[in-house]
């Protein structure tokens, strides 16, 4: 059981501390005093023991442990900067490659379109349009193709009706009179 002497010492210390806190600006003392704490605030009171020369060879022991465990420093700060630079260059190169690829693709696509348009002959166009007379105005058709090409060719439409019948269906009464059939 703690002695009365100890309790008195403890309390007198606290009283002393409170008195000291008035004399000197000390945040911890002030704070403990404000709390009415009896805890002593002097540094000598708070010491713990440590083996002699413990700190003298601390560096060596830590480096030995690092070596024994094979701990490697991943990268120095300098090499990290190099890695960052490499990363930036790689990103720029990737953007350039993507740009070239896109431009190349655009050019190839345009060339292919031009090539496929050039490959069509007048006959191809006529065949295509004659198979789909509903898509083209007869006047427009006559503008691009000779009249004999489309007017008297008995091609069948998709529903089996002769194409000239479809053509006649689209003509007005005046135009039919003019045809003189």
């Amino acid at each position: 059981m703690p002695s009365r002497k100890w309790k008195l010492t403890f309390e007198s210390k606290a009283a002393k501390l409170q008195a000291m806190s008035i004399e000197k600006d000390d945040p911890l003392r002030d704070e403990l005093a404000q709390q009415g704490s009896l805890l002593p605030a002097d540094a000598s009171f708070r010491r713990l023991r440590v083996p002699e020369d413990y700190f003298a060879d601390l560096e060596e022991r830590i480096l030995q442990r690092l070596s024994a465990e094979g701990v490697c420093r991943p990268f120095s700060t300098a090499s990290r900067f190099h890695l960052r630079a490499i990363g930036r260059w790689a990103a720029a190169a990737a953007v350039l490659v993507l740009g070239f690829w896109w431009a190349h693709r655009q050019r190839v696509s345009a060339d292919q379109k031009a090539a496929s348009a050039m490959e069509l002959s007048t006959d191809d166009i006529a065949t295509y349009l004659l198979a789909r007379p509903e898509m083209v105005d007869p006047q427009e058709l006559s503008a691009v193709l000779p009249v004999e090409t489309w007017m008297f060719t008995p091609l069948d439409s998709a529903d089996g009706a002769p194409s000239w019948e479809l053509f006649l269906r689209d003509l007005s009464t005046e135009e039919l009179d003019k045809l003189n059939l």
């Binding site: 704070e31 709390q35 009896l38 605030a41 713990l48 023991r49 442990r65 701990v71 300098a78």
Partner: protein
């Protein structure tokens, strides 16, 4: 905190740590400058010298591997203390899990270990103080230690423990009350 009169500046240490060739020299200086203060910070958290030595070495291994993650946004000292605190709290957590599985004889396991430590020879009020500290919850112990033993400002503590100043003040106040209550109970 390291003695600024006798230790190299943080800038000098960091400059040395930036180069492959001077890294070891920089690391040695870092250990020399901060080893002692980190040891005491850890020792007051784990309370047993052997454990403190183990945690301190683990802390420096983490620092050795991760110094390049230090971005200079806080003081080097704050960053090192944060690593040491986390390392000590993780150690205590794993120790607590191990002890939870073992038989409980009623005495606080940390207090028992502290009494068995040959480097703990406190007596009287100091002994009761450390027993009371050992009984504090770990995070509250960290708050109490930084404020009481290291007299650190609340602003600095907030940066290390990533907590608000108000919460730290309240935590310290409660910790002081708990410590005092324990000491009073043991004394009467």
């Amino acid at each position: 905190m390291p003695n600024r009169d006798t230790t190299p500046s943080d800038e000098h240490i960091l400059r040395l740590l930036q180069s492959e060739h001077t890294y070891e020299q920089g690391f040695r200086l870092l250990v020399r400058a901060y080893g002692k203060s980190l040891y005491w910070h850890i020792r007051r958290l784990v309370l047993v010298h052997e454990d403190a030595d183990d945690v301190l070495q683990n802390t420096f291994i983490k620092i050795y591997q991760g110094i390049e993650r230090f971005e200079g946004k806080s003081k080097l000292f704050t960053w090192l203390y944060r690593i040491a605190t986390n390392e000590a709290l993780s150690f205590l957590e794993s120790r607590r899990r191990q002890q939870a599985a073992s038989l409980d004889d009623g005495e606080d396991p940390l207090v028992r270990r502290m009494h068995a430590d040959p480097w703990f020879d406190a007596d009287g009020l100091q002994r009761r103080l450390y027993e009371a500290v050992a009984r504090l919850p770990e995070k509250q112990r960290a708050v109490f230690n930084l404020r009481y033993f290291e007299e650190m400002s609340y602003e600095e503590m907030a940066r290390i423990l990533n907590t608000s100043v108000g919460a730290l003040k309240a935590s310290f106040h409660h910790a002081v009350k708990k410590v005092e209550t324990y000491i009073r109970e043991q004394s009467s």
